[in-house]
């Protein structure tokens, strides 16, 4: 499995380098690899993890945002900033790129996401450091999601 994933990284670095000039191509590239991924359509869109159905969101809850802010600061901010790329991607716009369910699965199941989800695997070639599992509970992850919602521009 290790040699597999290293091979995959090398391949995706190669792809990324080859395709870095055009966003269009990068998009088509990921979609072609995802067809070989063995993932369900749901997983491709919403990630692999404890959430197998789309989560429902209501109005933004300010108390939950405040909780999420604290959890984010302790568990996430060493690598993620809201307004800029740091060790990981900037997160002020993550919900414009990913579904809330995808974000939840990414927080709660990063090891499998990095290994199995072709788009996340491709991100490894861009960001190099695989996202650590900070072992948040589902409630804590939900609070972080609320915080990210509140920061979304």
């Amino acid at each position: 499995m290790n040699t597999h994933s290293i091979f995959a990284i090398i391949v995706s670095v190669f792809f990324l380098a080859a395709c870095s000039s055009g966003e269009q191509k990068e998009g088509s590239d990921t979609s072609s690899s995802s067809s070989k991924s063995g993932l369900t359509q749901f997983q491709e869109k919403h990630g692999i993890g404890p959430y197998t159905e789309k989560i429902e969101l209501g109005e933004i809850d300010p108390a939950l945002v405040a909780d999420g802010d604290k959890i984010f600061e302790q568990n996430c901010s060493a690598c993620h900033k809201i307004d800029e790329r740091y060790v990981g991607p900037e997160l002020g716009n993550v919900l414009n790129r990913r579904s809330p369910t995808f974000v939840m699965n990414m927080i709660l199941n990063p090891d499998a996401m990095v290994k199995k989800h072709p788009e996340v695997r491709a991100m490894l070639a861009q960001y190099y450091t695989p996202m650590p599992n900070q072992n948040l509970s589902q409630d804590q992850a939900r609070a972080v999601l609320e915080y990210l919602r509140s920061e979304t521009k």
Binding site: Q74, N75, S77, A78, V87, T129, P130, P132, N133, Q134
Partner: protein
């Protein structure tokens, strides 16, 4: 892997061929199968071996013999900074100051109703008398208590059936009673005494010395508590009842019999609770490691309660026992007390019932310093004949059999608790000291395996110069005949060992420390909270680590001669993601910090310049990038404190 298998296949028949005259070795494939734990699978038992003069406790999987981990206890550990980090240095404090290297002896698992329960394991330090408690949810030493009025804490750390007490005793008698201790050595008989110590263990594990018993000036060697009918009693071997103070190998080997001391600890505990005896001088360190602050503290206590058998009746009796007995082992039923008379030709087995009857009948040979000596003929139940030369220790399989190590004849001797006759014997390589059967000194041994802890290794493994690891041998005791299964080298000198079914320990395992629960004085729970603070020439760096960077990783404003404390918090919250820390020219140590933990390294920069630091544990693909710089300016320079990461 293949070469190992090949080695097994080649080696086992050779061993078999060489030894087949003396041993009933299983077929080689049978022995190999019994110890083969497939990749990714786990051993059946945790084996906790004493590290002996290493002061630590190496852990081995049984039956594979895999070395799983070594718990740092009485010695500084150049693996994770135990005894070097500011948080753990207090664990090695004693009333003599900091002792960096101790001599560990007998591990003993905590028990509930006479059966090992997997909560804690205790182990004694012989040289500067102490007992440690290790929490088996973290495999960390969480408490060490010093034993005052003691020298050579050998008969330790054996527990009573519900871990009410863990006990200790002086191996070397010394002048103990308050007053002048500066006496001539040859006034031994007049001035030297021994003590037996009872350390109370609270429900949460905390230890305190409840009382000591002043006993005649002999050497007190080993111990075991009674169980079942003999619950409430503890037994200690003595030698040097001759009271020799020089050339003991001759002068302490003259008497045909020495004693096993039988202590009625329940009675003693009642006396102590009633405030009997007297409080005497007894400076001793008590070191505790706080789980929440990840920090140890050490305090010195000055007094202990001493009970004197000359004043308090019914505390202690002597059972005459041939000859310079070493081990004292109580069978699972609690009815028999076996003495390992290392110079004796027979293995004496005392009867607890007979002992009680003799006490009731005041069937005494004599009374020494308030201690009645029971008549040998009244307490002896059987003498096992032909039990090998130099019998030392006995363990039990729970199926009516006892197993005794014979040091001089280098064998394990199996004998029956019904007939008291030898039923089997197997050679060991070479000269076993202790032996261990999982649960073998408890009420319910798991049996199945026996480990001989051999003192002499010589040619058993590839030679490593004059200094060799010791040699353990795994023996199958599931059948009528013992069968040698495996040799494996053990670190240090395993004296005693204990083993417990793995599930009793794995179910309570802590995988990482929760950052939320970390109450360390200098914890840094987020990068935002990182800082560098100067107070005179003391500088505190509140630093974090997460894959794959430190924050801060650039620090300026440090001066030559400052005392810099790096308080490193590992922000990871997942199993098995430690980060290390080392800095060029550190005269102290390195750190290895577990997820959610905070540890502190003190560093005194000596030279102006740029000093790199880095993570010593290969933590990620970008581990080699996990580094930083400290700018050290000359003494008195005005470079302001500044710090950061990614700026």
């Amino acid at each position: 892997m293949k070469s190992v298998l090949f080695g097994l296949i080649v080696a086992l028949p050779l061993v078999f061929a060489q030894c087949s005259k003396k041993q009933d070795l299983g077929g080689n494939s049978e022995a190999a199968q019994k110890v083969y734990v497939a990749p990714g699978e786990h051993d059946e038992y945790y084996g906790f071996m004493s590290g002996g003069y290493s002061g630590q406790m190496p852990i081995y999987g049984i039956p594979s013999g895999r070395h799983l981990y070594t718990i740092p206890i009485f010695s500084q550990a150049p693996v994770n900074g135990y005894g070097y980090s500011e948080e753990t240095k207090p664990m090695l404090e004693t009333s003599y100051g900091f002792v960096p290297w101790g001599d560990a002896h007998h591990p003993e698992l905590s028990q509930t109703e006479g059966v090992p329960d997997g909560r804690w394991i205790f182990i004694n330090e012989n040289n500067t008398p102490r007992i440690a408690r290790i929490d088996l949810s973290t495999f960390k030493t969480v408490e060490i208590i010093e034993i005052p009025n003691s020298a050579g804490n050998h008969a330790s750390s054996f527990v009573t059936p519900n871990t009410e007490y863990v006990t200790a005793a002086t191996r070397f008698s010394i002048p103990i009673e308050d007053g002048n201790k500066d006496v001539s050595i040859d006034s031994y008989a007049e001035n030297f005494d021994g003590t037996l110590s009872f350390i109370k263990v609270a429900d949460e594990g905390e230890m305190s010395i409840d009382f000591q018993i002043l006993v005649p000036g002999y050497n007190y060697d080993l111990s075991h508590a009674g169980k079942g009918p003999s619950d409430g009693w503890a037994f200690y071997t003595t030698y040097n009842t001759e009271q020799a103070n020089t050339l003991l190998e001759i002068n302490a080997s003259k008497n045909d019999k020495d004693f096993i001391a039988a202590v009625n600890w329940k009675k003693a505990a009642e006396y102590a609770a009633q405030g009997k005896g007297k409080m005497v001088e007894g400076p001793h360190a008590h070191n505790t490691f706080d789980k929440k602050t990840h920090t140890a503290t050490s305090e010195i206590l000055n007094k202990v309660r001493m009970l004197d058998p000359r004043e308090l009746e019914g505390l202690i009796y002597f059972l005459p026992t041939p000859k310079s007995p070493h081990g004292v082992d109580v069978d699972p039923s609690g009815r028999y007390i076996v003495g390992g008379g290392k110079l004796a030709t027979v293995l004496p087995v005392h009867s607890f019932d007979k002992m009680i009857t003799a006490i009731e009948n005041e069937d005494y040979e004599t009374i020494i310093d308030g201690v009645p000596v029971l008549n040998y003929e009244s307490v002896i139940h059987a003498e096992v004949k032909n039990a090998g030369l130099g019998p030392l220790h006995t363990e039990f399989d729970g199926k009516g059999n006892a197993y005794t190590t014979a040091f001089i004849s280098s064998e394990i001797v199996k004998w029956s608790l019904e007939t008291f006759e030898v039923t089997d014997r197997i050679d060991t390589y070479y000269s076993p000291g202790h032996l261990m059967i999982p649960g073998g000194d408890s009420k319910k041994p798991w049996g199945e395996y026996l480990v001989a802890l051999n003192k002499i290794t010589k040619d058993r493994y590839l030679p490593t110069g004059p200094e060799l690891f010791h040699s353990a041998q795994l023996i199958d005791i599931s059948g009528e005949k013992m069968k040698l299964l495996l040799d494996f080298p053990t670190d240090g000198e395993p004296h005693y060992a204990q083993a417990i079914p793995a599930e009793l320990v794995t179910e309570n395992q802590v995988r990482f420390y929760k950052l939320d629960d970390n109450e360390h004085e200098y914890v840094t729970k987020s990068e935002k909270a990182t800082k560098v603070e100067r107070d005179g020439n003391e500088v505190h760096v509140y630093m974090t680590a997460i894959r794959s960077h430190f924050t801060p990783d650039n620090i300026e404003g440090i001066r030559v001669g400052d005392e810099v404390y790096f308080h490193l918090t590992n922000l990871e919250q997942d199993w098995d993601l430690p980060h290390g820390f080392s800095i060029l020219g550190a005269n102290n140590a390195e750190l290895l910090v577990m997820p959610g933990e905070t540890l502190t390294l003190k560093w005194t920069p000596q030279r102006a310049g740029i000093i790199p630091f880095y993570c010593t544990d290969f933590c990620s693909a970008l581990h080699q990038e996990m580094q930083g710089y400290v700018r050290v300016s000359p003494k008195g320079s005005k470079t302001p404190i500044s710090f950061g990461t990614g700026k």
